[in-house]
Amino acid sequence: MRRVTALPAWLRWPLYAGVGIFVLTLVETLDDTDRLTSASASQSMLRWGVPVLLAGLGGLFAERAGVVNIGLEGMMILGTWFGAWGAVNYGPWVGLLTGIGGGALGGLLHAVATVLFGVDHIISGVAINILAPGITRFLASEIFTGYPGGSITQSPRVPGVGHFTFPVLAGGEVGGWLSPNLLGSLGDRDWFFVSNVANLARGLLTQVSLVTIVALALVPLSTWLLWRTRFGLRLRICGEHPVAGEAQGIDVYRYKITAVTMSGGFAGLAGAFIASPELSGIYLEGQTTGRGFIGLAALIFGNWHPVGVLGGALLFGYPFGLGLRDLGGTASHSLLLVNAVALAAIAAWSLSKGRRTNAAVACVLAVVAAAWYLLSETVPDWWVNILPFAIVLLVLVFFAQRLRMPAADGQRYRRGEH
């Protein structure tokens, strides 16, 4: 019974997206706004989602190899500084590489501490999160203060890599030729749902940063690497049952260290992206604002799978992108209604599974969200910041039995102790 209804992943996620857009469309109609499904909403969702996605993929590699990487935030901070430094001196592409390198150094430190010295993963991660801002401040004071426009807390302007707009579908110019804009014209029709989908799709295909394309390509690439290659299989055994790996002659330490270093590289790329003109165009102290942690939240939301991480990153990026150009807080306010609908759906689902307590809790939360929506005009700006964490809490409460973290995740592994 259960097996028959399970959809393959490539169908499931588009289906979820479709349902989500449908709800957004309904709420828009009710609330008489067009912000929720505008092209700029999806465009900024993607922009804000990319660092979260990259951090989440970083967490994925570490945790699939059995090391919890709560130091992603610190590695991301290293990425912002090294990314900005490389880009300012040697151009945007080199900046991405130095960003990756800076993050990877943080990853290597975490790897050595946890794998070779058996330090608790959380303690080492927290130490890196404390250490990283100190290092970047020191480096900035040594180096950026000597640059025109730089200071101890910021860099000069950081150049960015190019953009790309998909011709025919989303318009733009190709060598002086003004391409048609199919999705744009569809979006202008005001057809219920269809136009909304077209607008959102156009946003995803307009002015896409080349880094974003790379980041998105990393999703199938990671899946391939982890599930289709020898490297991936051996890496995963380190997270599931390292002793079994050792017994088959696999050098568990080496794989763990490689994985955690790669993890830092992903976080570093995320940092470089944040410092790039895509999001800020400058290195600024404190600019990562906890997005490493949100990456971990995306990892849990995505059930330790790359496609799921992408889903989580976009879901968390959406309210951020929306909140950005929404100083009054009215668009975010509409999201409250979306939340209420989602919670009501969870309540119904829990009830159908016979989980009465869960259903009751979801119901109460749905009512609270709805009441908040009805009784207020705007929402405070902190609300957008806690939303990812609130969503992950809900996922943990209501879908915990569907989550499956690697069996030996976070455990200390010492060679030859068994």
Binding site: R2, R228, T229, R230, F231, L233, R234, R236, I237, E240, H241, V243, A244, G245, E246, A247, Q248, G249, I250, Q401, R404, P406, A407, G416, E417, H418
Partner: protein, 508 residues
């Protein structure tokens, strides 16, 4: 006959113990060679040395007439040696195929795994040795016997010609043991050399061509099964005669200690693993639960101790409803617990012995004084358990993982009995314990029963079930399907009941 393996003068010391002392062992090509010995005699250590997992301090190893240095499992695999460990080494979440190819993956360019070739080779190996598994099953869905087959295939997959099995039958029911032995004989006729460790002497005598006995780290004898009997072997192992079992009559009283009514446990995914089970254990009674592993015994015990939630039904302990009580409350109230997986639920492997001995009793004397841990009291009690239950260890300060498998088990049994519980939930209490110590543990359990202990016993060892129980309930697909009287029951009949081949309705 040429030798597949020749060990000469192997010595291995651990802090405070000599695990192997000048051990010599010669295994002929194509034979089934059994290794017997008490708990802590050094069997697993010797096998780990042969598999490159631990270095020997002294001695030489020759494999197929070539002197070899085995610095890691990789070396051993290259020399043609494979090992199935005492505790399975399979990742539950990976598929059978992934587990099997791990470390020996056929690849194409760029490190891509060639799944087609892997599958074909797996099928070949399976057919050649008559072992069947479905490569796409996830390991967590497999029964114990199937897991063991996966382990064996894993070894053969990388072309091993020498197969080491550490206590392969401990987790199997008799029917599965027979199947395993059929497989081993098949492997032997295909030219594979097999070394295996086993505590059940009649099994050893049935399947082995040669038997080597270890005692306190030394090899004391090498014999042929035709020349010895089981008591002879036991004597060789422990150096004296087996103690004869105590006989105590019926001690069952009228006072119900544990009562379970209509207990049902439903897993998160909707599977009903315990289905409307009702049972009653009185003071002085042992109720045995028989069944092929995976039929809900583990979940039944888990629900009674409180690590799994009961979906429906009630659990009464000395008349008190504890269905929704915490594990801690149940433990403090007087429910003892010997878990089926000692590594996962029974011990703190990295902690010193006395901490492991406090596990589950940490809130009570002699392990605690008020809010604080009573170290002196804990050490003293651990020393007592060590003495009374013959736990072989240099001191109570060593890390728990340094104990041999059987000694870890003795520690758990001792710790639970020492606390004098009113009800004991015992899952495979003597798993991995040698014959001599097993008889001693049985005596201890009988003595506790005579003193009024109510025991719920789950075991895969049918002699244990028949020998200890006052009544045996057969569990199948989550239900209790028959109640049998052990006084008139043979192991074969019980085995038939467990697999569903028994006559239904011949209950007491």
């Amino acid at each position: 006959m040429p030798y597949a393996i020749e060990l000469t003068g192997i010595t291995k010391r651990f802090p405070g113990v000599v695990a192997n002392e000048q051990v010599s062992l010669a295994v002929e090509v194509g034979e089934i060679h059994a290794i017997c010995g008490e708990n802590g005699a050094g069997k697993s250590t010797l096998m780990k040395i042969l598999y490159g997992m631990q270095p020997a301090d002294e001695g030489a190893i020759r494999v197929f007439d070539k002197e070899v240095h085995l610095g890691s499992p990789t070396d051993a695999i290259a020399a043609g040696i494979g090992m199935v460990h005492q505790h399975f080494m399979l990742a539950d979440q990976l598929t059978v195929l992934e587990n099997v190819i791990l470390g020996a993956e056929p690849t194409r360019s760029a490190g891509r795994i060639d799944f087609a070739r892997a599958r074909a080779h797996l099928r070949e190996v399976g057919q050649a040795y008559g072992l069947t598994v479905d490569p796409d099953d996830r390991v967590e869905t497999l029964e114990v016997g199937e897991r063991q087959r996966v382990e064996i295939i894993k070894v053969l997959f990388r072309g091993a010609r020498i197969l080491i099995l550490d206590e392969p039958t401990a987790v199997l029911v008799p029917q599965e043991v027979e199947e395993l032995f059929r497989n081993l004989r098949g492997l032997k006729s295909a030219g594979t050399t097999i070394i295996f460790i086993d505590h059940k002497l009649d099994e050893v005598l049935e399947v082995a061509d040669t038997i080597t006995v270890l005692r306190q780290g030394r090899s004391v004898a090498t014999v042929k099964p035709g020349d010895v009997t089981a008591p002879d072997l036991a004597e060789l192992m422990i150096g004296s005669e087996l103690p004869t079992a105590q006989t105590i009559g019926v001690t069952v009283t009228d006072e119900v200690a544990l009562e379970v009514k209509g207990l049902t446990v439903v897993e998160e995914d909707g599977r009903v693993v315990v289905d409307d089970v009702s049972l009653r254990v009185r003071r002085g009674e042992v109720l045995g639960i028989a069944g092929v592993e995976g039929n809900g015994q583990a979940e039944l015990i888990a629900a009674i101790i409180g690590t799994a939630a009961a979906t429906a039904g009630t659990i009464l302990f000395l008349g008190e409803d504890v269905t929704h009580a915490t594990v801690r409350h149940r433990r403090e109230a007087g429910i003892g617990y010997i878990p089926h997986d000692r590594h996962r639920e029974g011990l703190l492997l990295q902690a010193p012995l006395w901490e492991s001995a406090a596990l589950g009793h940490q809130t009570r004397a002699p392990f605690a004084k008020g809010l604080f841990v009573d170290r002196a009291g804990a050490r003293e009690r651990t020393e007592w358990v060590r003495r009374e239950f013959d736990v072989r260890t240099p001191s109570v300060e060593v890390a728990t993982h340094a104990l041999s498998g059987g000694n870890q088990q003795k520690l758990i049994v001792g710790r639970e009995l020492a606390a004098e519980p009113a009800v004991l939930l015992a899952a495979h209490p003597t798993r991995g314990i040698d014959v001599g110590a097993q008889a001693a543990v049985w005596d201890d359990m009988r003595a506790a029963r005579a003193a009024g202990l109510a025991t719920l016993l789950v075991s895969a060892d049918l002699d244990e079930l028949i020998g200890l129980s006052d009544t045996i309930a057969v569990m199948m697909r989550g239900r209790l399907v028959a109640m049998l009287d052990p006084a008139t029951l043979t192991a074969r009949e019980l085995g038939a009941h467990m697999t569903g081949a028994g006559v239904r309705g011949d209950s007491r």
